[in-house]
């Protein structure tokens, strides 16, 4: 029999501590859509997406109502378009992004990911067309997300792509300058990108995935913080145990939702992404968990250790609660999407450089960081190279999603709206040039996997 205390605890998590399932994401392969004619290819893409995910939103809403657990996003990810569209005789993939945008709006999802290229070792013709199409594609569409994987532990870092992506980010910012460079909020540059990540903007349907698959991303920073509030002064063994138990409970709900969604949609279950995904709402922040552990303001010395413990304990607790775990799995540290991070930037306790250190132990990387619009492409490429190097050497996923907002300076605020949030411009303190380094191009060789000091 269910105990009354358990019912009260679960419902308090939902109503007081903002427990939710962050996303149900359907991955759809577009490998069977290939066609040399662009119009026909776009029709194939539109049809495959709208047929496969016709009932995704309705199913998500039904599960949400029946179990009383909010499911915030219903989304779709597709095969990286650079692969799916490689056979098209064309010099631009913008029409594909527009077809994805139409399909996503038709089925009612709020984002569609996969306007992507995997170029960690080199470019195909399709990869080059895709990367050149990104700025315009993101400016012409509303819900299409783009990502580029340019490094991995197995292959090293494609520095030609690092150079190009600095320029692509600048062009995207320029083309969407009327919306505070919103296009850049839909563009992620990865090292070691997973092919089963259900979270945007970096979701794409990996080439080794089944034709269709349903994955779920959980959340719950507010629940973890609430659990730690009852452990003031406890030692770290107890802190870790508390986080593990909470992560277990959160993930069990995610697993239930994933199982139901998979059954009702008739699509295989992929993975649960064990993530603490914050929102700009008060009480839904990863930074505030770090502060609950005893750091006065996120970014102060001790922050990286606190985040390391949090990230590890979330995985340990969540693993047993789910039959398959994957994606990014860990604590996200996006700046504009986390009320505590925003506050820490405002007070000056958190800097870009400290965030870089934190990405060594968090689940992804430098995320949703607005910087001055006149930051040079080479400096952005330098930031990308550093982040990719951290991922490559540490065998983990890292990413960069920076937004150089045209016309904005340190001290200004940027509003992206909704869950993308808002944040002050974060200073890039070091003004010395990376241009000659970035201009070299070529590839950084794959790293050694022993002698790991």
């Amino acid at each position: 029999m269910i105990s009354i205390d358990d019912i009260i605890e679960t419902n308090e998590m939902i109503t007081e501590n903002k427990l939710d399932v962050r996303t149900i994401t359907m991955g759809i392969s577009l490998r069977d859509c290939a066609h040399p004619n662009m119009e026909q290819f776009c029709r194939n893409v539109y049809d495959k997406i709208t047929k496969s995910a016709e009932f995704l939103v309705k199913t998500g809403e039904d599960i949400e109502a029946e179990y009383g657990i909010p499911i915030i996003h219903k989304r779709v990810s597709v095969t990286p378009i650079a692969i799916a569209a490689d056979a098209c005789k064309t010099d631009t993939y913008v029409p594909v992004a527009e077809a994805m945008d139409r399909a996503a709006k038709e089925i009612g999802v709020n984002f569609i990911g996969g306007f992507s290229a995997l170029v960690e070792k080199g470019f195909t013709n399709g990869d080059r067309i895709l990367i050149n199409s990104i700025p315009q594609a993101l400016a012409m569409t509303d819900v299409v997300c783009s990502s580029v994987n340019l490094g991995s532990t197995k292959t090293g870092i494609n520095m030609d792509c690092v150079r190009e992506m600095g320029e692509v980010i600048k062009r995207t910012a320029e083309l969407t300058r009327d919306n505070d460079a919103l296009g850049c909020a839909k563009l992620v540059v990865f090292c070691n990108a997973p092919g089963d990540n259900p979270f945007m903007a970096g979701a794409f349907h990996g080439v080794s995935e089944a034709d269709k698959v349903v994955s779920v991303g959980v959340s719950g920073p507010g629940v973890v913080k609430h659990a730690l509030e009852a452990k003031k002064g406890a030692d770290f063994t107890e802190v870790a145990e508390t986080i593990k138990k909470t992560a277990f409970k959160i993930t069990r709900v995610g697993q239930l939702v994933a199982r139901e969604a998979s059954k009702r949609l008739g699509v295989p279950f992929g993975i649960i992404d064990l993530s603490l995904a914050p929102t700009p709402a008060v009480g839904d922040s990863v930074a505030r968990i770090i502060e609950e552990m005893g750091i006065e303001s996120c970014g102060a010395p001790g922050t990286t250790a606190a985040l390391a413990l949090l990230n590890d304990a979330v995985k340990k607790g969540g693993l047993m609660a789910s039959s398959h775990v994957g994606g990014l799995s860990g604590a996200f540290i996006p700046v504009s999407e986390d009320e505590g991070m925003i506050n820490a930037i405002k007070t000056g306790s958190l800097s870009l450089e400290k965030l870089e250190a934190m990405t060594c132990v968090c689940s992804v990387g430098l995320d949703m960081i607005a910087i001055e619009g006149d930051t040079s492409a080479a400096t952005i490429s330098g930031i990308i190279a550093d982040e990719a190097a951290i991922g490559m050497i540490n065998n983990k996923t890292t990413a960069v999603r920076v937004i150089p907002v045209p016309g904005k300076k340190v001290g200004d605020m940027v509003e992206f709206g909704g869950l993308l949030g808002y944040c002050p411009i974060v200073p890039v303190r070091n003004q010395y040039s990376s241009a000659a380094f970035i201009a070299r191009g070529g590839r950084i060789p794959a790293p050694i996997r022993s002698l790991t000091n």
Partner: protein, 89 residues
């Protein structure tokens, strides 16, 4: 399938009567009721068996929610599995 109904709101005459009437009309069998009044606020958690009912869960949820709104109480009905999976291995 078991259903968990939680009712919270300012106390008044007839809350339990109203909830149990809606459940009875729809052939939903009540298994347990836990109810108390705290500072004038009514709190109830009711567990029921819904398997022999013909009404769809979403329709029953709507009926309970709307009836609750009429007398200023918040009524939530949830599939019991969310509590089972979270608290039991």
């Amino acid at each position: 399938m078991k259903l968990v109904v939680t009712v919270v709101g300012k106390d008044r005459v007839g809350i339990i009567a109203m909830v149990s009437q809606i459940l009875a009309e729809n052939n939903v069998n009540i298994l347990s009721i836990n109810q108390n009044i705290l500072d004038g606020y009514f709190n109830m958690i009711l567990i029921a068996e819904i398997s022999s009912s013909k009404i769809k869960l979403v329709d029953l949820q709507k009926k309970l929610r709307e009836s609750g709104q009429e007398i200023n109480v918040d009524i939530k009905a949830q599939h019991a599995d969310i509590f089972n999976v979270m608290h039991n291995i």
